[in-house]
C-alpha cells in the first residue's frame, strides 16, 4: 500500500521503458519519461513517430509489449478502466456529435462518466461559464466555428473533473485568436493543478510548455524544460555561438556564408540568417568578409537556439547514429 506522502509525490504520469511492437515493427522503443502534476507537457514528433501509440498505451487502449506505466498513480496494465475514469481526452477532430446540440453533447459525455444528475448539472454550468458557451447551448454543434467546437470538446473532456488531460493536436486547423485563447485557458487550469499532455506541430506552442519531449521514430530523443534543451551540448556544441545576421539580401548572403570557414551551419529565417559559428570567430571580421562580397549587413547579434533548432540538431545526430549503427 502506498502511504499518503507517496501519493502526493507521485507524478501524473510515469512511463518506464515503454515498448510497443506490432508484429515485427517496433512503434515505440524504450521510452521513459515523467510528467509532474500541474505541468503542461508538450509531446512532439513527426507524424508516424509513435505519439498516438504512446497516448493509447497511457490511456489503456493498447497493451504494453514491455515496460511499465502509471497514470495518476494507477498501473495502466492492471486497471485501465480506473485510469480512464480519471483522465480526459480530446482528439484533434474534436469528437463531437454534430447532429446533437451543444447541451446534448455535454449531457451525453457527462452520463458516460456516470455523473449523478445534480453534479452533472453543476459541472455543465461551470464548463459553460468557463468556456463562454452559454449563447450556443441549443445550437447544433455542426454549426459552431472551429474554435467553439474545440472549446466544447475540451468542455466535454473536463466534465468529470479529471486531473490529467490528454490533448491530441488541440489547435490543428483553428484560427490564431482561438489558439491563443485555448493556451490562456490551459495556463489558467494548470494553475489549478491540472496536468496537460499536449501533442502539437507548432513550435511556438512547444515553447509555451513547461516540459517538452521529442519522439523520433519510436525513440525519445529529447526530454526536459525548453531552456534545459537549448543548453544541451548536442545543440550548442562547446566553442560555438549562434548568431542572427540581418541583411536585405538573405539568399545571396546564405550562399556566401556557407563558404566561409568557421560557419558550421546556416539557414534562412525571414529577413535574416541563423548561423552556428565558432566562438573565436570575430563578428566584425564576418561582417567585413560579407561586405567584400558586396553584401551589406544591417546587424549581427547573438541568439539563443529555438526549440526548432534543438529538434533539428537532435534529429541529425540521431540519424547519424542510426546510419553508423546500420553500417
Amino acid at each position: 500500500m502506498a502511504t499518503p506522502t507517496q501519493i502526493l509525490s507521485e507524478p501524473a504520469i510515469s512511463a518506464e521503458r515503454l515498448v510497443r511492437r506490432f508484429g515485427n515493427f517496433t512503434a515505440v522503443s524504450d521510452v521513459s519519461f515523467r510528467v509532474e502534476k500541474g505541468e503542461i507537457f508538450g509531446f512532439l514528433g513527426p507524424n508516424g513517430s509513435g505519439k498516438t501509440t504512446v497516448i493509447k498505451m497511457l490511456t489503456g487502449l493498447l497493451p504494453l509489449s514491455g515496460g511499465n506505466a502509471r497514470v495518476e498513480g494507477i498501473d495502466v496494465r492492471t486497471d485501465s478502466e480506473a485510469v480512464r475514469e480519471r483522465i480526459g481526452y480530446m482528439s484533434q477532430n474534436f469528437s463531437l456529435y454534430y447532429d446533437l446540440t451543444v447541451s446534448e453533447n455535454l449531457q451525453f459525455y457527462g452520463r458516460i462518466y456516470s455523473l449523478e444528475p445534480a453534479r452533472l448539472k453543476r459541472r455543465i454550468d461551470e464548463i459553460v461559464q468557463l468556456n463562454g458557451l452559454a449563447p450556443y447551448l441549443n445550437r447544433l454543434s455542426s454549426q459552431l466555428s472551429g474554435g467553439w467546437k474545440q472549446r466544447l470538446a475540451l468542455g466535454c473532456a473536463m466534465l468529470h473533473e479529471p486531473k490529467l488531460l490528454f490533448l491530441d493536436e488541440p489547435t490543428a486547423g483553428i484560427d490564431p485568436v482561438a489558439r491563443r485563447q485555448l493556451w490562456d485557458l490551459l495556463f489558467e487550469l494548470s494553475g489549478h493543478g491540472i496536468t496537460f499532455f499536449v501533442t502539437t506541430h507548432y513550435m511556438d506552442e512547444a515553447e509555451r510548455c513547461s516540459h517538452v519531449a521529442y519522439i523520433y521514430y519510436g525513440k525519445l530523443i529529447a526530454d526536459g524544460t525548453p531552456n534545459s534543451l537549448r543548453e544541451l551540448p548536442e545543440v550548442q556544441p562547446h566553442g560555438t555561438l549562434r548568431v542572427e545576421i540581418t541583411t536585405p539580401e538573405v539568399t545571396r548572403a546564405l550562399r556566401f556564408a556557407r563558404q566561409i570557414s568557421g560557419i558550421r551551419s546556416a539557414t534562412i529565417f525571414g529577413q535574416s540568417i541563423h548561423a552556428l559559428i565558432d566562438d573565436h570567430f570575430n563578428l566584425d571580421e564576418l561582417r567585413e568578409q560579407l561586405l567584400k562580397d558586396g553584401i551589406a549587413v544591417a546587424e549581427i547579434r547573438p541568439l539563443a537556439p529555438s526549440l526548432e533548432d534543438v529538434f533539428v540538431e537532435l534529429t541529425y545526430k540521431h540519424q547519424a547514429l542510426l546510419e553508423a549503427a546500420s553500417d
Binding site: 487502449l61 481526452y89 482528439s91 456529435y97 446533437l100 452520463r111 458516460i112 490528454f166
Partner: protein
C-alpha cells in the same frame, strides 16, 4: 465498476436522438420496404396467363373451332390475331408480337371424323423459359384431354383420375408467395444498413476513438448502439405484416406472436452482420458497398425468388449459411402453412447459432482492427 454494460443508458439515449434528428434516413428506410411491397404485391405476377397467341386455322370447321375455344378457356392463351398463311404465323413470333403460334392443318376435322390421328402444330418462343414451359404443359394437357374424350366418347370414367390440390395458396396468388419472403430481405436490409452506418459514422467522426478512452464498456457501447436499431427493425416488421395482411390481403394462418418471437434471432444475426461490416469499412460509402454484399445471396440463394432446389449442387450448401434461408422458411411457414414452434424450432436455433457466430467474429475483428489499430 464491474458493470459490464456501463454506459449503455447514455449511448442508447444518444442513439435515439440521432435517429430522431435524422428523420429522413428513418423515413427512407421504413418506406423503401413498403414501396417494394407495392411493386411485388401489385405489379408482379409470376402466374403466366394470357400468353399472346397467333392462330393459322387452315381448317376452319367446328372441330377446329372447339379446339381453339378450349385453348382460350384455359386462360393461358390469348388469341390476338388470326392469319392466313405460314409466313405471317412465323413473322408474328419472330417480331415478338406473339409468343405462341398455333397451326391447325386443313384436314384436321376430316382426320378426326375418320378416327385418324390429327396433328396440330404449336410453335413456342423459347426465349423466355417459364412462358415456354407453361405453354408446352397446357397445350400437351389439352391435346391429351381431347384425345381421351374422343376415345372414351364420354362413356366411362378415367381409369386413373389425378386430382392435384394446391394447399395453403389455392389461388396461386403472387403476393402470398412473395411478401412473406420479402419481409426477410427487407429486415436484413434495414437493420444491417442502419447498424453499419451508425458505427461507421462514429468512426469517421472520431467519436468512437473518444468513447474508447472513456469508462464505457464495450458491451454497454454495442448494446446501446444496437438496441435502437433492433427496435426499428421490429417496428418495420410490424409495418410490413400490417400492410401484408390488410392491404395485400395475405391470410396469416399461424401465430403472429411466434413470428415476432422468431424474428428476434434473425434481427440479431442481421445486426451482427452490420457490426462485422462496420469493423471493415472506414467510410459510409464503403459501408454502403459492403452492406449490399449479403443482399444478393440472400435474394438468390435463400429461396426467396427461385426455389432452393434450382441452386447448383456446389453452391447448395451455401444456402444453409444464409440467415434469410431460415427466416423465409419461418415467415412462409407461419403465414402460409400455419406452422408452429414444433416445425420451426430448428430454424430459430440455426439463426441463433449464425448470429452468435457472426457476433463473435465481429467482436474479435472490432477489437483487433478498430480498438487496437
Amino acid at each position: 465498476m464491474t458493470n459490464i454494460f456501463r454506459g449503455f443508458g447514455a449511448v442508447f439515449y444518444k442513439e435515439a436522438l440521432h435517429v430522431r434528428r435524422d428523420a429522413g434516413t428513418l423515413f427512407f428506410s421504413l418506406t423503401m420496404p413498403l414501396l417494394q411491397m407495392f411493386l411485388l404485391g401489385f405489379a408482379i405476377d409470376t402466374n403466366i396467363r394470357q400468353i399472346n397467341t397467333v392462330v393459322y386455322n387452315a381448317d376452319g370447321r367446328r372441330e377446329s373451332r372447339e379446339l381453339l375455344d378450349r385453348l382460350t378457356n384455359s386462360d393461358t392463351f390469348h388469341i390476338i390475331r388470326f392469319v392466313e398463311n405460314d409466313h405471317d404465323l412465323n413473322d408474328m413470333i419472330i417480331g415478338g408480337k406473339a409468343r405462341v403460334g398455333v397451326k391447325i392443318p386443313v384436314d384436321y376435322s376430316d382426320r378426326l371424323l375418320h378416327n385418324m390421328s390429327a396433328q396440330v402444330l404449336v410453335l413456342i418462343d423459347g426465349s423466355d423459359s417459364s412462358v415456354a414451359g407453361q405453354a408446352i404443359n397446357v397445350t400437351t394437357a389439352i391435346g391429351l384431354d381431347e384425345s381421351l374424350r374422343r376415345v372414351l366418347q364420354d362413356r366411362a370414367a378415367l381409369a386413373v383420375d389425378m386430382r392435384p390440390k394446391l394447399l395453403f395458396n389455392p389461388d396461386s396468388r403472387s403476393p402470398n408467395f412473395f411478401l412473406p419472403g420479402l419481409t426477410a430481405i427487407m429486415l436484413l436490409n434495414v437493420t444491417t444498413f442502419l447498424t453499419a452506418f451508425s458505427i461507421v459514422r462514429e468512426k469517421e467522426r472520431g467519436t468512437l476513438e473518444q468513447l474508447f478512452v472513456t469508462p464505457v464498456r464495450p458491451f454497454g457501447l454495442l448494446l446501446g448502439k444496437l438496441l435502437p436499431y433492433l427496435g426499428i427493425g421490429f417496428f418495420e416488421l410490424c409495418l410490413i405484416l400490417f400492410f401484408m395482411r390488410f392491404v395485400f390481403l395475405v391470410p396469416i394462418h399461424g401465430n403472429v406472436l411466434l413470428l415476432a418471437f422468431l424474428s428476434l434471432p434473425y434481427l440479431f444475426a442481421a445486426l451482427s452482420l452490420g457490426i462485422l461490416i462496420s469493423s471493415k469499412a472506414n467510410s459510409q460509402a464503403e459501408a454502403m458497398q459492403l452492406a449490399f454484399l449479403p443482399i444478393l445471396p440472400s435474394v438468390f440463394f435463400s429461396g426467396y425468388i427461385f426455389p432452393r432446389e434450382t441452386i447448383p449442387a456446389i453452391l447448395y450448401p451455401l444456402s444453409y449459411l444464409i440467415p434469410a434461408t431460415y427466416f423465409i422458411n419461418i415467415t412462409r411457414g407461419i403465414i402460409l402453412r400455419g406452422a408452429t414452434i414444433t416445425h420451426l424450432w430448428k430454424d430459430g436455433l440455426a439463426l441463433c447459432l449464425i448470429g452468435a457466430f457472426l457476433l463473435i467474429i465481429a467482436a474479435r475483428r472490432f477489437h483487433d482492427k478498430v480498438i487496437m489499430a
